[in-house]
Amino acid sequence: MKYFGLIWKNAWRKKIRTSLTILSVLVAFLLFALLNAIGYAFRAGEDVSSAERLVVIHKISLINPLPISYEARIASTPGVAEVTHASWFGGYYQEKRNQFAQFPVDIKEYFALYPELIIAPEQLEAAAQNRIGTIVGHELAEQFGWKLGDRIPIQATIWTKADGGRTWEFELEGIMRSNDPRGSTAFMLFNHDYFDEARAFGKGTAGWYVLRIAPGADPVEVANAIDAQFANSPNETETSTEAAFAASFAKQFGNIAMIVQLILGAVFFTLLLVAGNTMSQSVRERIPELAVLKTLGFRDSTVLGIVLSESILIIALGGLLGLGIGWVLVQGMAQQLSASLPGVYLSPQALLLAVGIMIGAGIFAGFFPALKAMRLSIVDALARG
């Protein structure tokens, strides 16, 4: 620590060069923060998914509905503890840009299968009793200013009503949240019975089934048993774990994670070149000064450490600034996108990773210049100076 003053002053020997280097590091880590937080949103579905839950969809695609009669047959499959169904509604509130997920479900069964969803029991009861009752996540209630008892009209994009109307009226009976800080509840649940009676087509079907396997049952065996039951029927099924389901859902948006990694890879490669160049220039400029330090009794290893620390310092300065700005932006983004892309979040793991990258990049960028400084012969360097 007593060398900090020396390291700090040396880092700023060329103010413009150091500022530009720091700026480029800043941009790299700002990008890292933003992309990581967005990537997190896409992975969140996989990460919060439960290993005990399986999802049954139509073998052809998620969009093809399954007969509602399947529920009883799935329930009686060995290894299945509980099952419920859900569908995709695909509506919006007032304006097209207010899109979020709505699921017609059996409200009580649904909450039984998703214990991580937290709701007051009386609200749950009220929503189940009210034919047009609905429960929304607190994120949505906050965004749209909804309160219990409000009438919420949702415009259907798929499901016209039997009377030809496209506006579905709901009454807000409950507001839910997740007990998992990473879990989003930016969606709306309402009664499947109302949905099935009022819709113009598709009656008697559900979008998919969700089931909990019995304790000790093998998920793979249970999944195979279910799919075997419906094999060679007009509606064959594909059963997978919730995580796999979430992943295939996320894949609809392209392989975001890979794109993110490619971008970050390019950014950090550039960063290493920029920082490495700064450090080697800086060392080249002060060969005589480094020789003087050694003359005064600074050991080779101390000189190595001083140059490396300087490199790490420059990268950490830019990196921490970039992360800080990124953190603020991510907070804003998370709020803006809470309905359309819930789960935008800069995780502690990502921050830790960023700090690790800073140290690693600092060492990498400073390594050869530091080695050069360490190996410097005093006699030669002073003769040149």
């Binding site: 007593k2 020997r13 290893s301 006699v379």
Partner: protein, 229 residues
């Protein structure tokens, strides 16, 4: 007969430049008493700097032994030499060799970073050293805000701050005008006379050599003695 501080016995230094062998020093013998102020003169390339580097533990002889204050430098490892230099010897160069990014005080403090001294103690010692060289009022100036003579005073303060017995000066006035040179030489003489520093000074300037107690002449790697008053 006073105590011997530094001793060279049969010292040779050979540089290998590709296939060419450069014999810089040949079997040199030299004794330097404690409290001496020795001027080393001689033509360019005669090996003066090489000799100074050996005495300061910056370089090792090809043959022979170099000992200073009881330490046999010629048989020490590089890191042992680093530790030894930090407390036993001060260097003063022709071009001052201060760190441009640090203030005078911080430059003077540099050798103390290698000790266990507290920041406060370091600062105090640096101030004291700057006072001795008459630059207390310039402590917070950067080298580029100082004149050449002032820079050399800072360099001298840095050389004495860890209180070494031996000061090695390589053309300390080579870049200064006559009157500034005289001031610096006067300062060196007072460090020798009043503070008991043993000084070895390489110089091309006969007037500078007059400040020393004796002068040695070097030619082609050999020494010849011509004592002065």
């Amino acid at each position: 007969m006073a105590e011997i501080l530094a001793k060279l016995e049969g010292v040779s230094r050979v540089y290998q430049k590709g296939k060419e062998r450069v014999d810089v020093l040949h079997e040199l013998d030299l004794e330097i008493e404690k409290g001496d102020f020795l001027a080393l003169m001689g033509p360019s390339g005669s090996g003066k700097t090489t000799l100074l580097n050996l005495l300061g533990g910056l370089d090792k002889p090809t043959a022979g032994t170099v000992s200073v204050g009881g330490a046999t430098l010629s048989s020490m490892s590089n890191s042992q030499l680093s530790n030894w230099r930090a407390t036993h010897v001060g260097f003063i160069f022709q071009f001052y060799n201060l760190l441009p990014v640090l203030t005078a005080r911080k430059n003077v403090e540099l050798p103390l970073l290698l000790t266990n001294m507290s920041a406060k103690e370091r600062s105090k010692r640096a101030s004291l050293a700057l006072e001795i060289v008459g630059l207390a009022d310039r402590a917070n100036h950067r080298p580029r805000e100082l004149s050449g003579g002032q820079e050399q005073r800072v360099a001298i303060a840095r050389a004495i701050v860890s209180d070494p017995q031996l000061l090695l000066c390589d053309e300390p006035t080579g870049d200064l005008d006559r009157s500034t040179a005289d001031e610096i030489l006067g300062l060196l003489r007072s460090l020798n006379a009043d503070h008991g520093k043993t000084i070895i000074m390489v110089t091309h300037d006969a007037q500078a050599a007059n400040y020393a107690r004796r002068t040695l002449h070097m030619d082609k790697g050999k020494l010849e003695t011509r004592a002065t008053a």
